[in-house]
Symmetry: C2
Amino acid sequence: MDIKTFSALAEPNRFQIVELLKNQSYSVNDFVKILKVRQPQISKHLRILNNSGLVNVKPVAQKRIYSLNPDAFIELNNWIISFERSWTSRLDNLEEYLKLSKQEG
Amino acid sequence: MDIKTFSALAEPNRFQIVELLKNQSYSVNDFVKILKVRQPQISKHLRILNNSGLVNVKPVAQKRIYSLNPDAFIELNNWIISFERSWTSRLDNLEEYLKLSKQEG
DNA sequence: AATGTATATTCCTTGACAAGAATATACTCA
DNA sequence: TGAGTATATTCTTGTCAAGGAATATACATT
């Protein structure tokens, strides 16, 4: 799991961008209009999202169409799933700790 | 989805703490030894993880035992699942964009 | 009560990052 | 090619968060 994914999602505007891309693809200017954030900041945010692997770009004439990169979400999903035991198991964590620390001495 | 979860996970030490807690619970001093980070920073990181809802605390004598909070991971899982369409659908995003933007005019 | 152990908090400094402003680059079409 | 549209980059500034050092708080044991 690459930590860059989390820092990319930790910024409100970027999180919003990802939420929007859940439904469809958008150009840079689309985000400018929708989020009411100036174009340079949108471009910067998109670059960070792109570097983190969360989004893809495709140039269409002068426009650049951004979309979600499924791979990033698959990786994220796999990571979450690796915690499944921690939310399905009804084992009391405190007892577990005491048991384990007793083993260690 | 609360964005604080992402900023909490975006810091390397905190990410490591969460990874460790996947397997068992730990006290503050356990993290100090394992991660080789000074105690005050560990406490600070744990506070942030606690505020974001990712971990729980239980006092045991002088120790404070930290464990994962399943609720946070369930929420995270639900959020990821809401993207399932974006990684299962083989619909080409570019075509999708062109189609939608044609509708809008 | 005194001492030791475990953890939390405060203050300070420094580095990272977001926004603003200005500018550069890329592509299109007349 | 020149003008217009779309996007990216650079530079600067202000803010926030992380780490270090010192200190405070909480509990335990004698």
